[in-house]
């Protein structure tokens, strides 16, 4: 009977497990106590949050969904999504640093690496001692990532890499361990190659001046006859295209969680402000015009959250989740932009100055409709899954 009950429960998952609740609580408390007090300053000074990443690493939060044998947390994808949501609820720069490291940096090595590669790289990545990047986007290959021009030619047992990557997260910090890139290894052949940080010929260029995510590290990369050993090939030769699509599918779960978190954080701020701000002799939260905004935000956030959690659960169950992930990404990115805008609107003039977090949230939100697959790419993925041709 017990098993039967459990099976029914697992099909309709609206209750988090004890562990999931505790992880959510842990990260909520951490974000509130350790991130919130410094988020404005880090953003203003465009300073990478080393201290926070170190603390997150010590708590086991830099490799949440990976096996404990590699130093990971041994938790599920939903726990990981909950953690990213709670971080982004307070600050997106910290959120994306953890999400990009975990889903884009660490995952390909975890999923496609040999035992030797996993043993070599994963412990330092799961502990947060080192960060890892995923180098896919190029100046002329964004949404059309298959159009990559970076080449890797095998010469004397080494890959010789030439080309450039851009918009790469976590590539230029003091603790960046390296990058996994996609490169042309043949006429119609894309492969993934591991490039350690100290590789001669590999240059991490100056950081971008961004609209938001100011405390996160985003840079262009250049490869000028950069040489790495042949065994740095990640996964089978020629599988790079398939592998990065899979990586992006997973990445969309955490980016969706970032959208939910940012939207929720915007609502938290807007609600608190609306309750304390008086106009015409009473709190603005008592005006229907404000109530409608708050009610709509809360409703949309809950819907987007369920879609995001469902994607995580599908992945944990080993079921196809690419369509749902694209839907979640599309929904949450737009929602984050809209909720940030509404939150600023509710704050009035104060929302336009940096003393209030919603100002930062507004700048941080926009990338969520672009990064890790634009809305238009998500729509393409979704339409194709529907059979539209």
């Amino acid at each position: 009977m017990r098993n039967g009950t459990d099976r029914v429960r697992r099909r309709v998952v609206f209750d988090l497990t004890d562990e999931q609740k505790d992880i959510q609580r842990l990260v909520r408390d951490f974000a509130q106590n350790e991130v919130a007090p410094v988020a404005e300053e880090l953003d203003r000074e465009k300073r990478f949050p080393y201290e926070i990443i170190e603390k997150l690493g010590k708590l086991g939060l830099m490799g949440i969904p990976y096996a404990q044998e590699y130093g990971g947390g041994g938790a599920d994808t939903l726990s990981y999504a909950l953690a990213i949501e709670e971080l982004a609820r307070v600050d997106s720069s910290v959120g994306i640093t953890v999400a990009a490291h975990t889903s884009l940096g660490t995952w390909p090595i975890y999923a496609f690496g040999t035992d030797e590669q996993k043993a070599e790289y994963l412990p330092a990545l799961c502990s947060g001692e080192k960060l890892w990047s995923f180098g896919l986007t190029e100046p002329e290959a964004g949404s059309d990532a298959g159009n990559a021009r970076t080449t890797a030619k095998l010469e004397d047992g080494e890959w010789v890499i030439d080309g450039a990557k851009q918009f790469i997260t976590n590539a230029g910090t003091d603790i960046s361990g390296g990058v996994t890139i996609t490169a042309r290894t043949g006429e119609k052949e894309i492969s993934n190659i591991i490039v350690p940080q100290d590789t001669p010929g590999y240059t991490v260029e100056a950081p971008y001046r961004k609209m938001g995510w100011n405390a996160s590290d985003t840079r262009p990369l250049a490869f000028d006859s950069a040489r790495v050993p042949e065994e740095n090939l990640l996964g089978p030769r020629g599988q790079g295209f398939k592998q990065f699509l899979q990586t992006l599918d997973g990445g969309r779960i955490s980016v969706s969680a970032m959208g939910v978190g940012l939207a929720q954080g915007a609502l938290d701020q807007a609600l608190a402000y609306a309750k304390e701000r008086n106009a015409f002799g009473k709190p603005i939260a008592s005006f229907q015009a404000i109530q409608i905004k708050l009610a709509d935000m809360a409703t949309e956030i809950e819907a987007a959250r369920l879609l995001t959690y469902k994607t995580a659960v599908l992945k944990d169950q080993g079921k196809p989740f690419g369509l749902t992930a694209a839907q979640a990404k599309l929904k949450t990115g737009r929602l984050a932009v809209r909720c940030a805008e509404e939150a600023v609107q509710i704050h009035g003039g104060y929302g336009y100055i940096e003393e209030y977090p919603v100002c930062r949230f507004y700048r941080d939100a926009k990338i969520l409709t672009i990064g890790e697959g634009t809305d238009e790419v998500q729509q393409m993925v979704i339409a194709r899954a529907l059979g539209a041709a």
């Binding site: 562990e19 505790d22 992880i23 609580r25 842990l26 010590k58 708590l59 949440i64 404990q68």
Partner: protein
């Protein structure tokens, strides 16, 4: 040394607390959490264990409560306790502070700890008294509001907060110490500890297992009866002194205190 830490499951701080006018008790429904004051007691135990001044064999979290209270124990072990004991029995429902203290003391007798630690208060009942009740039943010395503990083999030197300043008190072991929240900054549980919490030993005990006299616990065994509940009387509005010119402000404060003969 063996340390037992008393913990309690309470409504989460985010839940708005309200009295149930029918039962005349606190409505404890909704999201629950480990009593935040107890996390300071667990942290104090961990600091003694990790401090190295004495050899601590184990830290045991102890609670009394319904089935759901195991969550508080899971949290306690995720914060570092080695194992936990759950006293749970229908006969214990609706016990007052005195009956709860007696029941907990019976569990503690079966554990024979050298030191019992607990938080200064629970975040729901807020009685501040359970430590003293437990100590009385165990015939151990008891201290409250302790904010610093120096450990030696058979005694502790404690600093405790008082209205007039700080007391430094030496106490022989075994003892029951309730700690103030200023004693430390509790650590976060690590992800690994959260994932492993259910794997640590948890013993569930009923009243019969620890020789609890059923006539002394539960609603019937409790000596308090709630006759009525009333909101606290409204406080008088205070006087706000705006700090425009600091010298003037200081003068105003001094004058205010002087009027009330609060300055010698």
């Amino acid at each position: 040394m063996k340390i037992c830490v008393l913990v309690k499951e309470v409504p989460d701080a985010a839940v708005e607390k309200r009295m149930d006018s029918n039962s005349m008790r606190l409505d404890r429904s909704g999201e629950k959490n480990l009593n935040p004051f107890d996390t300071h007691a667990i942290e104090a135990a961990m600091q003694i264990k990790e401090g190295g001044a004495v050899d601590v064999e184990e830290v045991v979290a102890v609670t009394m409560g319904p089935e759901s209270a195991v969550r508080a124990l899971h949290k306690a072990v995720s914060l570092g306790a080695d194992r936990s004991v759950h006293l749970t029995d229908d006969a214990l429902a609706d016990s007052d502070v005195s009956a709860t203290g007696y029941a907990l003391a019976q569990v503690l007798k079966s554990e024979s700890p050298d030191l019992v630690l607990l938080g200064q208060q629970s975040d729901d009942g807020e009685c501040y008294t359970i430590g003293a009740v437990v100590a009385d039943h165990l015939e151990m010395p008891s201290l409250t509001q302790v904010i610093k503990i120096d450990t030696a083999a058979d005694k502790l030197t404690c600093e405790r907060q008082a209205e007039y300043g700080y007391d430094t008190v030496e106490v022989t072991l075994p003892a029951v110490i309730s700690v103030g929240d200023a004693i430390n900054e509790p650590r976060y549980p690590s992800l690994k500890a959260i994932m492993g919490a259910k794997k640590k030993q948890l013993d569930s005990k009923g009243t019969g297992d620890v020789e609890i006299d059923a006539s002394k616990v539960g609603a019937d065994g409790s000596r308090t009866r709630v006759l009525a509940i009333n909101p606290p009387p409204a406080k008088q509005a205070g006087e706000i002194i705006e700090d425009e010119d600091t010298n003037e402000t200081v003068e105003k404060i001094v004058a205010w205190l002087d009027e009330r003969k609060l300055i010698a």
